[in-house]
């Protein structure tokens, strides 16, 4: 809208512009003051009023930050807070959205923490790509923690249960006090120098902010970063995040979880090996079956039948020829036999004795020449007549030649 050269804004437009300006300019503020009032809503958000001698500031701790607080924001507490300004449009009030709240004194510690964190982050110490992979099947795990206390006991207990085949090398260190940071970073270096382990766990049980402080020490952080052995951090409780956790290759919320991350469960691994073993059997059998099928299908190919078919054909031909040879042989023999038989008959018929038996006689002269014509003999010449049952001696009485 525009009236007489002035642009007219709605309330929301003003609010949005102010909100934009506030959020752009007043970000990541560190503010010191005293809590004048504090009220927790069922949503988990905490609404606070902060004040100093002259002024008041509305502030809100949204539930996701409120639940991480280690110190209750009670009225009268002097605090250092970290957060951003914004505008609560519904009321037209600007307010501080708090991310972290520390009792004053600790605030300085956290300023140092934030400063170191920013510096190391810039150097790339927390970069995801510089994280080393944690071996799931280590031979040996190095543990840097206090030789007393629950941390070592928890880790060893979990390893005994899950991975009794994994051994541990311990480097005991003090985990709080002035010398702790130096001893811890030295231990990390010594473990690396000694080697012979796959994973390192650096751990400490829960404690106060000051107790955990050695894990925010630059020496320790750099020692973790420079470690060739992958490091799992297990420091304090889940809500405590030290810079050592940021730089570690894996951040475990508790020592037990660290031990679990550091070792695959033995039984599960055995089951997995069994499943691979089964896959081996199945795959090999499959390959063999495939080859067998190939052989069978080859055997059934026409080519393999051809020789046999040819052989059978030849065999049939041979049998046929054999039969035919035998057939013709027999028929030749038979016909020859018939000829012989008929010849025999003829011969039998031609036998003179047969003729004699039928009553014919043979006339011969005295010299046994067969007489065919009367002119072969003379009158009164001796003559023989052969008949079937003997010889008759006679003489020629008369000769008469047949008229031709």
């Amino acid at each position: 809208m525009n009236i007489a050269g002035h642009s007219i804004l709605t309330i929301t437009q003003v609010a949005n512009q102010v909100k934009y300006t506030l959020e752009k300019k007043y970000t990541n503020l560190w503010i010191q003051g005293e809590i004048a009032s504090s009220k927790t809503y069922p949503s988990g958000h905490i609404y606070l009023t902060l004040k100093d001698g002259q002024s008041e500031l509305s502030a809100v701790l949204f539930s996701q930050y409120a639940k991480l607080l280690k110190h209750k924001p009670i009225t009268g507490l002097k605090v250092t807070v970290n957060g951003d300004l914004s505008l609560y449009s519904a009321k037209g009030q600007f307010q501080l959205q708090i991310r972290n709240l520390y009792p004053t004194g600790q605030g300085d510690l956290w300023l140092a923490y934030e400063a170191l964190k920013a510096k190391l982050e810039l150097e790339g110490l927390f970069a995801p790509e510089s994280k080393r992979k944690i071996s799931r099947f280590p031979n040996r795990i190095g543990i840097i923690t206090s030789s007393e206390g629950a941390v070592l006991r928890d880790i060893i207990q979990v390893l005994n249960r899950r991975a009794p085949h994994v051994s541990c090398l311990i480097h005991p260190v003090p985990v709080q006090g002035k010398s702790a940071a130096g001893k811890i970073s030295e231990a990390i270096k010594l473990m690396n120098q000694y080697g012979k382990m796959d994973t390192l766990i650096v751990g400490r049980g829960g404690g106060s902010l000051e107790d955990l402080w050695c894990f925010n020490d630059e020496q320790v952080i750099r020692a973790i970063y420079n470690s060739k052995i992958p490091i799992i951090s297990a420091i304090g409780h889940e809500t405590d995040t030290t810079l050592s956790d940021y730089v570690a290759d894996y951040r475990a919320p508790t020592p037990s979880v660290a031990a679990e991350i550091a070792s695959e469960d033995r039984q599960e691994t055995i089951q997995y090996l069994d499943s691979i073993s089964e896959r081996f059997q199945i795959a090999s059998k499959q390959i063999i079956t495939n080859y067998k099928e190939k052989i069978v299908s080859l055997q059934n190919r026409h080519g393999f039948f051809k020789p046999r078919l040819l052989l059978e054909q030849w065999n049939t031909k041979l049998n046929d020829m054999d039969y035919r040879i035998k057939q013709s042989y027999n028929s030749i023999i038979n016909s020859q036999k018939k000829i012989v038989d008929s010849l025999q008959d003829k011969i039998l018929l031609l036998n003179p004795k047969t003729q004699l038996r039928r009553g014919f006689a043979i006339a011969m002269d005295s010299k046994n020449n067969i007489i065919f014509s009367p002119d072969q003999v003379k009158i009164n010449e001796d003559m023989k007549i052969q008949v079937s049952k003997g010889i008759i001696m006679t003489k020629v009485k008369e000769g008469k030649i047949n008229n031709a």
């Binding site: 031979n139 390893l159 994994v166 090398l169 090996l273 691979i276």
Partner: protein
């Protein structure tokens, strides 16, 4: 096969062999080789898991020499 291989490498070799075997285009010779290699690696893996002693020792430094002592030594 290298003499001293860690479990993870052995296992991943085992996995790649079984995958080759499952890829179905292996000659019979190669299959037999794969199978034999696989069984060897399987044996190595199982042997590593069968070491049932959770040996605990402590790293100690004496006269600038690093060594191990069995059990948990106090710091």
């Amino acid at each position: 096969m290298p003499k001293k291989q860690n479990f993870e490498d052995t296992l991943s070799e085992l996995q790649s062999i079984v995958q080759r075997l499952e890829s179905d285009s292996l000659s019979l010779d190669k299959m037999v080789h794969c199978f034999e290699d696989g069984m060897k690696l399987m044996k190595i893996c199982r042997a590593q898991l069968d070491k049932v002693e959770n040996r605990i020792s402590t790293l100690v430094k004496e006269n600038d020499e690093l060594s191990e002592k069995p059990g948990i030594e106090q710091s």
